[in-house]
Every structure is written in structure tokens, then in C-alpha cells.
């Protein structure tokens, strides 16, 4: 039995006088206890909104509709009232956000913010809580934790703030940790530190981790199961190695072909996906990726593609998936060449590339992702 079972979650923002925006349109995935699961996709694919919906953190506004189920350990999180949800949040499920500065209260010392979590969920008080807080900061690799407790968020660097936030998240030894782009705002060397820390924490405590990111490199290094999202739906789910070795959904293929790789030679052209993420087909009318897809066939439009279940817990939502790059060859050469997945793009990529990312005139973009934080000052 999975720890978290997300079934057909949908989030719709209906604005007055405008068409409703389907930010999330039927996302399903599951997380086993102690498992690291990745949600990968580009801006507007609904990955952050999904996590906020699960946590009940979407800003309450008229026109917001959340549907589906998110069953955590037998309880449907979406049916809970605010209070019991708050109890679960922090104690059983914790979340880490992209921007640590706006997730921390700027006028309260770090120490107090950590001890408050301990007091609220673990009933600790006074010196015991302070000691535990220092131990937590030490655990996440903040040097000289006793002194740091008295300091304010703005006195710490971005990496240290993110560590402090992680300390708060793991304070109650939650069973599930949701990390929403936890390293996007950080430099590469700091990102490596934080990812390593998250890996350690997960390994040591058996916490399950949902990693939300746009960076395929990050998921390749740490996630066991990966869900690729496009246009508010999961288009492909696979274990880590099969996904990178034999991507089946053309979008996954395209993403892998778009990323310049550190270990590739100079001069190799990338194989971009034509168009822009705004060129979406509504799922009711077919595959959302069809307008940008190089493997598009007539059957792509009309009705949404069914989820195809393959062996090894793998599934994809495509009527004309990329062919497997030869089963025999995959056995011979464990590391596929870089351009291989992209070779399936049958040359149309180049021709279609120029100028096809047209503006979606009059059509609302697939959705500003509301994050539970204040708007940044200009």
C-alpha cells in the first residue's frame, strides 16, 4: 500500500469574464514509504500546483476548484478540514519551497522558528526545544548552530537559509517530504550540497520524498520513480533508468534532446521541441502535446490518449510512442549515446523550430502558478 496515492487531481482557476484555467488536469501518481519520486516538467505543467493542492496550500480564492483524491495513509487529504490538515502538515508531511527567504519569517530569529515547529508538533518546551533545534541545525550542516539560532534569516546566505528550512521541515520526522524546486534559486555547488543533504536525510530517516523540479539532471541523480508532467497531466511514469534509457513519450524524448549535456562533445546541435509551452491543446480535445509533437498522427486529436501500461510499472499517455531503441542494443551498451533519443525526431525538428513559438493571442497562458508567498517587491 502506497504512502501517498494521488488520484486524478485537478485544479481549476475560474476568473470572472475569462475562460477557466485548468492548471492541473487529472494528475495521478503514488509514493511508497521511503521512496524518492520526481515530478518533472516545465513552467505551467502543473507540478507545483499539484503539490500545493495536496498540501491544501492553494490561496483560497473564488473560482478555485480542486477535484480528485490524495490519500495519505488512508485519509483523503482533500476532504480534511483546515485544522486536521494543519496537524498533518508539518508533523506527517512537510514541504520545502524554492525561495527560502520568503518562506522564513524575516523578523523572527531562525531558532524561534525551528522551536515553534517543535513546540507545536512535538510538545517540546524551553531548553529541550532549543537543544533539539541546535541539533537539527547541526544535522543539516549549519556550522556553529547555537549561535545561528539567534540570527535572522537575512543574516544567512541562500544555501544556509535553505538548510534552515530543511531543518524545520524534518523537525518532526515527517513520513513524507515534498520539495518544490528546492535548489533552483541556488548556485550549482550549493545545489550539490543541498541535494546531497536531502539524499542523506531520506536515506537515514526513511522519509519519502517528492522532488518537484524542471531539471532532468537532478531527478536522474536521486529519484527512483519519475513522473513527467505536461499541460497538467502525467504523460509518462517510469523507473529512473528505463526513463532515461528508453523514453517512450515524445515529450520526454524531446526534453532529453533539449538539454545540453556536460559530457557531450562541442558542436553537436541540440534537438529542441518546436513551439512553446503555451501551445497547448486542451486535454478534452486530444493530446495536449500534439501541437508541438514531431510524432503526431491523426489519432492524437479528438480524444485524450489513454494511459498505456507497460511492464515494470511503467506507463505513458501516447498513441504513437517513440520506439524502443532496440532491445538487443540496450543490453550491449548500457549508456546510450546522447543524440539517440533525439534521432527519432525524424528531422522535422529543424524545420519546425524557427518561429513556431507563437504568442497565444487572447488565450490565457496555462496558468500563473500561485505560490504561497508574498509578491516580490519591484
Amino acid at each position: 500500500m502506497a504512502l501517498l496515492e494521488v488520484e486524478d487531481i485537478s485544479v481549476t482557476f475560474a476568473r470572472r469574464g475569462q475562460r477557466a484555467v485548468h492548471a492541473v488536469d487529472g494528475v495521478s501518481f503514488s509514493v511508497d514509504a521511503g521512496e524518492v519520486v520526481g515530478l518533472v516538467g516545465e513552467s505551467g505543467c502543473g507540478k507545483s500546483v499539484t503539490s500545493l493542492a495536496i498540501m491544501g496550500l492553494l490561496p483560497k480564492q473564488p473560482g478555485l476548484r480542486v477535484g480528485g483524491k490524495a490519500v495519505f495513509d488512508g485519509t483523503d487529504l482533500l476532504q480534511l478540514d483546515d485544522r486536521s490538515r494543519r496537524d498533518i502538515r508539518g508533523r506527517d508531511i512537510a514541504m520545502i519551497f524554492q525561495d527560502p527567504l520568503s518562506s522564513l519569517n524575516p523578523v523572527i530569529p531562525i531558532g524561534l522558528q525551528v522551536t515553534e515547529v517543535l513546540t507545536r508538533h512535538r510538545g517540546m518546551k524551553g531548553d529541550v526545544a532549543a537543544k533539539e533545534a541546535a541539533a537539527l541545525l547541526d544535522r543539516v550542516g549549519i556550522p556553529d548552530p547555537k549561535r545561528r539560532l539567534k540570527e535572522y534569516p537575512h543574516q544567512l546566505s541562500g544555501g544556509m537559509r535553505q538548510r534552515a528550512l530543511i531543518a524545520m521541515a524534518v523537525a518532526c520526522q515527517p513520513r513524507l517530504l515534498i520539495a518544490d524546486e528546492p535548489t533552483t534559486a541556488l548556485d550549482v555547488t550549493i545545489q550539490a550540497q543541498i541535494l546531497e543533504l536531502l539524499k542523506d536525510l531520506v536515506r537515514d530517516s526513511g522519509t519519502a520524498l517528492v522532488m518537484i523540479t524542471h531539471d532532468l539532471g537532478v531527478v536522474a541523480g536521486m529519484c527512483e520513480t519519475i513522473n513527467v508532467l505536461y499541460g497538467g497531466r502525467v504523460v509518462e511514469t517510469a523507473r529512473r533508468r528505463p526513463l532515461f534509457r528508453e523514453p517512450r513519450h515524445p515529450y520526454t524524448v524531446g526534453l532529453l534532446g533539449s538539454v545540453p549535456r556536460l559530457d557531450a562533445g562541442r558542436g553537436e546541435r541540440l534537438n529542441p521541441i518546436p513551439g512553446s509551452v503555451r501551445d497547448l491543446l486542451p486535454w478534452q480535445e486530444g493530446c495536449a502535446f500534439a501541437p508541438r509533437c514531431t510524432r503526431r498522427v491523426d489519432a492524437c486529436v479528438g480524444e485524450p490518449p489513454e494511459l498505456v501500461l507497460a511492464h515494470d510499472g511503467r506507463s505513458y499517455r501516447c498513441v504513437n510512442p517513440a520506439p524502443l531503441p532496440g532491445l538487443a542494443r540496450a543490453a550491449d551498451a548500457p549508456v546510450p549515446a546522447k543524440s539517440e533519443p533525439a534521432a527519432t525526431a525524424d528531422g522535422t525538428g529543424q524545420a519546425a523550430e524557427a518561429g513556431t513559438d507563437v504568442p497565444a493571442a487572447g488565450k490565457p497562458a496555462s496558468g500563473p502558478v500561485p505560490a504561497p508567498r508574498e509578491e516580490e517587491k519591484p
Binding site: L281, P291, R296, G302, V358, A360, A361
Partner: protein, 318 residues
């Protein structure tokens, strides 16, 4: 079957080449802001109120049934007997027998005049100072910073003076008149406009597109005029609308205190309010009507101003 699939195909192709229409012109930021403004009910209410106000004050004085200074019931008015609302006089008569309705309509013109002229003075002088300071600070260099410093310290001085005190001093020098009120109220709003424009200009001067223009080799004065100023105007325009509201209230306050027009033949809402306070227990409508006039007009300007602020706010754009 084939027809259906071709139709489907056309549909995706259309989606893939979305909006490739030559005839359609782009929508500029101003046009978009105006569209948003039209969708906002607050803006519509504000605009209707102001439209009525402007029509009344422009056309009204030619249509009023009586001259505002004509004493209709001369000699018959006593304290304790002020004729109220009746068929000939829709709002009744005032304490010396003048038609209250005619006075309200003619007073609207005075009120609008004071508000607009005062705001214009503030806007013009403030924008000039703020614009020069902002441009000087944006250009940088030793002289630029010096000019900016001198101008802004002057503005700080203005800001430090209480507005009422400033108005009283100006009235003391120029004597009480409508002009005094306009100048006084205008002067008070100068620092607001100056600081606003300067701040916006400095913020714009640090933006990437100004750097891009510099790297294109565009001359600095041209950058200031073509990029910095137009992009700094939005907050100033919003402020001007909001200032109109406060200017009307402040002008009324100054007239109420007797610093305004002392020519009784030209009615003004603030002055009417001041006159009416002595009769508030016998004829409260004399005070309530001009007060309502001031409140509704100020509210109209504020509603429109706030709606404009929302429409022009880049953060609220999708």
C-alpha cells in the same frame, strides 16, 4: 472518416500556428490597461460620477433657474424661518434667501476649477522638479548627483511643512481668494509628484532595457525621453487622479476656514458649508448638501484613481 481526420489535423495545425494574422495590430500597454479599466466596476462607478459632475459644472450654470446671488425672499427670511424644499426651489432657500439648488450647481464649477487647477499646479511643478532630478540622478556623474541632491532637499523642505500652515502662510501673503486656495493646495501636492516621478525614473534608469538602449548607442537624453519618462508616468497619472480628490477636500477646508473666495456672489461648496454651520439645527440640508457634494466627488476621483492603479500595475498583469 478521412474528412474528420483532416479536420482534426487542420485544427492542430491552426493551434500550432496560433494567431498568425497580419491584420491584427498589437495591443500596447495603455490599450491593455484601458481594457482592464473598463472591466472594473469601481472604475465605471467613478467615471459615471465624475462624468455627471463635469457635465453639471460645465453646462449647469447656464441652465440654473435663478442667479446664485439673487435673494428671492429678501427681508422675509429670519433665523428660525428658512423655506425648505418646494416646487420652485428644489433644494430650498439658504439663510439669506438664495436658491440652494442654483448655488450647488454653480458651486460645482468652482469646486472642479479649484481641484483641477490646484492639481495641475502640483503636477506641473512637481513633475518638472522630479523629472529634472530623476534625469540628473539617472545620468549620474558628479553634476547629476549634485543637481538631484539640491532639488530633492528643496522638496524635503516643502514636505516638512504642514500643508494647512503652508496654505495659511500663502493666504497671508496673497490675501484670501480662490487663487490663493489653488496655489496653496497645488504647492502642497508638489513634493508628492516630484518624489514619485523621480523615484520611478531612477528605478527605470536601472532597468535592463535602458542598459540595452545604451549598448545600442542611443544618446542619453533620448533614452531619458523615449524610455525612462514614458515608463515612469503611470504612477504619476494615478496619483494625479487621487490628488484631485484630496485637492477638492483641501480646497473646501481652506474655504471653510475663510481663506478662500470671500466674494459671496460666487458660491463654493466649502464656503457654503462654512455659512451653513450656524443654521445646522434649523436647516441641516444647507450643510448636508454641499458636504454630500464634496464627498461624492472625492469618492468618484478616488474610485477611478484606485481602479487606474490596479489597471496600470504591472504586477497584476497576467
Amino acid at each position: 472518416m478521412t474528412i474528420i481526420s483532416r479536420k482534426k489535423k487542420e485544427k492542430i495545425d491552426r493551434l500550432a500556428e496560433l494567431a498568425a494574422r497580419d491584420d491584427e495590430r498589437g495591443v500596447s500597454l495603455w490599450q491593455e490597461a484601458f481594457r482592464r479599466l473598463r472591466r472594473n466596476p469601481a472604475a465605471i462607478v467613478g467615471a459615471v460620477v465624475l462624468g455627471l459632475f463635469v457635465i453639471v459644472s460645465v453646462v449647469g450654470p447656464f441652465l440654473v433657474p435663478y442667479a446664485p446671488e439673487a435673494q428671492l425672499w429678501k427681508g422675509e427670511i429670519r433665523v428660525g424661518f428658512i423655506p425648505g424644499v418646494r416646487a420652485e426651489n428644489w433644494f430650498g432657500l439658504d439663510h439669506i434667501g438664495r436658491d440652494q439648488f442654483s448655488r450647488m450647481v454653480v458651486g460645482a464649477r468652482q469646486t472642479l476649477l479649484v481641484g483641477v487647477v490646484a492639481t495641475m499646479i502640483g503636477l506641473a511643478v512637481g513633475s518638472l522638479i522630479g523629472g529634472i532630478a530623476g534625469a540628473a540622478a539617472g545620468l549620474g556623474g558628479r553634476w547629476g548627483r549634485a543637481v538631484d541632491n539640491v532639488l530633492m532637499r528643496f522638496i524635503d523642505m516643502l514636505l516638512a511643512m504642514p500643508s494647512l500652515l503652508l496654505a495659511i502662510s500663502i493666504a497671508a501673503i496673497l490675501g484670501a481668494s480662490l487663487t490663493t486656495v489653488m496655489i496653496a493646495v497645488g504647492t502642497v501636492s508638489v513634493p508628492v509628484f516630484a518624489r514619485l516621478l523621480r523615484g520611478a525614473m531612477i528605478a527605470q534608469s536601472n532597468s535592463d532595457y535602458v542598459l540595452a538602449a545604451t549598448s545600442l548607442g542611443v544618446r542619453k537624453p533620448k533614452i531619458a525621453l523615449a524610455h525612462v519618462v514614458p515608463n515612469s508616468l503611470a504612477p504619476v497619472i494615478v496619483q494625479a487622479t487621487l490628488t484631485l480628490a484630496t485637492a477638492i477636500i483641501e480646497a473646501a477646508a481652506l474655504s471653510f476656514l475663510g481663506l478662500g473666495n470671500n466674494d459671496a456672489s460666487i458660491p463654493e461648496w466649502g464656503m457654503m458649508l462654512a455659512d451653513a454651520q450656524r443654521y445646522i439645527d434649523i436647516a441641516p440640508r444647507l450643510a448636508i448638501l454641499p458636504a454630500l457634494g464634496i464627498i461624492i466627488t472625492a469618492l468618484g476621483f478616488t474610485l477611478l484613481g484606485e481602479a487606474m492603479r490596479e489597471a496600470l500595475d504591472p504586477k497584476l498583469r497576467k
